[in-house]
């Protein structure tokens, strides 16, 4: 009789453990699911942010290109009063262009 009581008590404990474990797993799953569920929303927000930043980057690049275009620069130059150089002087590099007069050289060497 004592043995059968012990067995019943053991079997009850077994069930408690099983139910406890199952309960813990379910609870853990609920916690994890809850936590990850909000991550999904976060992921969506991050995705949207990536798209938004890419578009902003695109728009900034387009602005930069349009402001650095030769058409724009030329118009700006004209507006600021720049004029085209029409008489270019080519410098002959085979001869010295800033030579001191001969007498100065001789006075220096003295």
């Amino acid at each position: 009789m004592k043995q059968s009581k012990n067995e019943t008590s053991k079997s009850k404990k077994g069930w408690y453990v099983v139910f406890g474990l199952v309960g813990a797993i379910i609870f853990a799953q609920l916690i994890v699911s809850g936590a990850w569920a909000s991550k999904g929303e976060e992921l969506n927000k991050l995705d949207a942010k990536v798209v938004k930043l890419a578009k902003e980057n695109q728009e900034l690049q387009a602005d930069l290109s349009s402001k650095a275009s030769l058409q724009e620069l030329s118009a700006k130059a004209q507006e600021l009063g720049f004029v085209k150089q029409n008489s270019i002087v080519y410098v002959d590099l085979t001869h010295s262009v800033a030579a001191l007069p001969q007498n100065t050289l001789s006075s220096l060497s003295r």
């Binding site: 990850w36 569920a37 991550k39 999904g40 929303e41 992921l43 969506n44 578009k55 695109q58 728009e59 690049q61 387009a62 290109s65 349009s66 650095a68 275009s69 030769l70 058409q71 030329s74 270019i88 080519y90």
Partner: protein, 581 residues
């Protein structure tokens, strides 16, 4: 007890029946109609979208975008949320109606009002369309307009992003670039120029994304998610130098006005490898508004239209004759004292001036038709024909632009002596400007024929791939090329009073005034004036061809297009670091 037993039996029967009903319904849902419900269920928790591929950019040689992508927007409306379609149409119309380009026109205000009124009617019709719940109102809305509309806070109005082509340099190199339109299936497709030639590389391929979502539409992280990334289109890095392009376009526009020409074109090529540095034909079209122009304006005359080259062709015939050895450097023309009569035709000098015993240099300097007939006579049809083929005439040049015309030469057997004679001074033969500039590059490139090339590299992400082109082919000897170069330098120097150039920069060049063939004869009033040349003559950095169609201010190329050529060249010299020697 009996009643209690009956109740139990009744309840048992009821539960049994209910179970059978539930099971049969479950069987119907899960087995018989499983496919149908699976689809319904999936539509609730699964979603997918197409990831668009960005079309590649076209870059100048300095990396600046000539064509890139721009963010534009589709303006749409949820019909049920629009309370007063009339008011919404009236508010939106002035913002999104097309703007007329010519603001200075006398009736521009009235015209603009009419356009706005038409747009208002159109929007109202769209918003009151029967049975529609969502309607697109207008594509290609720019960011500034979008922001203005957003400020109005109109209920039921929204925007979706779209990609568009953007041209930071406006209409620069329009025909070279081509444009992007739609194909029969409504998909974006490149037409003409680089957009057409490299359409596949520029397009890229779309991707897809499928994922599971929760009741709020958020992604389920550990759900079944699949993603195939889109492959963006590749970028093209061209040899186009936008400063050179800018210079030639500005001068061409001025030149067309100054010399009262119908149109004009210019090509600048680096002779050593055939790199196209600039290429422009004026008037062109605006690629951002291509649909507003006639389709015939899309074709670039530089690659797609032929002309009779006239006297600029003489240098090629002379070079071929020297290379073949039929004439020597010191040969003199013994048939140059008067007009030549060939069958029923008389070939004169055009100016009624004749130069007996001309040297080869003098023939080029005087642009002497009679002298060239003598040269061609020495060559004969067979030899000249073979040289024409070696110069690349009769076949497309292979330039990487869509729309290049293929102009086969007439069969050799069909050539008579008069054909040979007229071909020697560029009449009765049709070439494209790109063929012509390529052929003259042979003289500037020690006798080697380059393949004209616009794109240098194709880039995808961090990877660059250099585009491979066929190598140059030797057409004439370097000696023959040098001799003709000297003749061309002489031709420029002999008329240096007609144009301005820095004194000690050697320029090799040749003018050409060709008649325009119409219905079996030549138009007596219309001409095509051209000048082709390269500089510095002893180490050419560029070969440039400039053509003016039907200039009315003066009859000869030396009075119109040649000064224009030198005005462009004088801007190119300092830019390219070409200095007097």
């Amino acid at each position: 007890m009996v009643a209690s037993g009956l109740r139990v039996k009744f309840l048992a029967a009821f539960f049994l029946l209910a179970s059978v009903l539930i099971l049969s319904k479950l069987f119907s849902i899960q087995v018989l109609k499983s496919d149908e419900f699976l689809v319904v269920a999936k539509s609730q928790y699964q979603t997918s979208k197409t990831i668009p591929a960005r079309r590649g950019s076209i870059l100048a040689s300095d990396g600046f975008p000539l064509v890139t992508f721009d963010q534009i927007w589709l303006l749409w409306a949820t019909v049920a949320k629009i309370e007063n379609p009339q008011r919404v149409a009236k508010t939106l119309a002035p913002l999104i109606a097309d703007k007329i380009d010519d603001q200075e026109a006398a009736d521009s205000v009235k015209l603009q009002e009419k356009i706005i009124s038409q747009e208002e009617d159109r929007i109202k019709k769209v918003l009151t369309r029967e049975g529609a719940s969502w309607v697109p109102i207008k594509h290609k809305i720019k960011r500034e307009i979008k922001e203005e509309i957003e400020k109005l806070d109109l209920a039921g109005i929204g925007f979706d992003p779209e990609d568009d082509r953007s041209y930071p340099e406006g209409t620069m190199a329009a025909r070279l670039l081509g444009f992007v339109g739609k194909d029969d299936a409504g998909e974006s497709k490149g037409y003409f120029g680089l957009e057409g030639f490299y359409d596949l590389a520029l397009s890229g391929s779309r991707g897809t994304k499928a994922w599971e979502k929760d009741a709020f539409g958020n992604t389920i992280l550990f759900g079944s998610n699949r993603k195939f990334e889109a492959m963006d289109g590749m970028d093209l890095k061209t040899n186009i130098d936008r400063s050179v392009q800018f210079i030639i376009e500005r001068h061409l526009e001025k030149g067309i006005k100054k010399y009262d020409a119908v149109s004009g074109l210019a090509v600048v090529i680096r002779p050593i490898d055939g790199a196209i540095l600039a290429l422009s034909s004026v008037p062109a079209y605006d690629p951002a508004k291509f649909s507003k122009y006639e389709s015939k304006t899309y074709i670039d005359p530089i690659v797609g239209e032929s002309f009779e080259p006239g006297s600029i062709f003489k240098v090629l015939v002379m070079a071929a004759a020297l290379d073949s050895g039929v004439i020597k450097q010191d040969s003199k023309c013994d048939k140059c004292s008067g007009p030549r009569i060939i069958g029923e035709y008389t070939i004169d000098s055009g100016t009624n001036e004749y130069y007996p015993n001309s040297t080869l240099s003098e023939i080029i300097e005087h642009s002497d038709n009679v002298g060239m007939v003598w040269v061609s006579e020495k060559m004969g049809v067979d030899r000249l024909y073979n040289y024409l083929l070696k110069y690349g005439f009769g076949l497309p040049t292979g330039i990487d632009l869509q729309g290049e015309a293929s102009l086969p030469l007439r069969k050799k057997e069909d050539w008579s002596f008069i054909d040979l004679a007229t071909a020697s001074f560029g009449q009765g033969i049709a070439v494209t400007p790109i063929q012509m500039v390529r052929a003259v590059s042979v003289i500037a490139n020690e006798g080697k024929l380059p393949v004209p090339r616009v794109v240098e590299k194709i880039s995808s992400g961090d990877k660059d791939e250099i585009v491979k082109y066929p190598g140059s082919q030797q057409v004439i000897s370097p000696r023959a090329a040098r001799l003709v170069t000297d003749m061309m330098v002489g031709a420029v120097e002999s008329r240096s009073n007609m144009w301005f150039k820095p004194k000690d920069i050697k320029v090799a060049g040749k003018t050409g005034t060709a008649q325009v063939p119409i219905a079996g004869h030549y138009d007596p009033d219309k001409t095509i004036a051209s000048f082709i040349g390269f500089a510095p003559a002893d180490d050419p950095k560029f070969v440039m061809l400039v053509i003016l169609r039907e200039p009315k201010s003066a009859p000869w190329a030396s009075q119109t297009v040649a000064p224009l050529w030198f005005s462009i060249a004088n801007d190119l010299f300092p830019y390219m670091g070409i200095q007097p020697k």
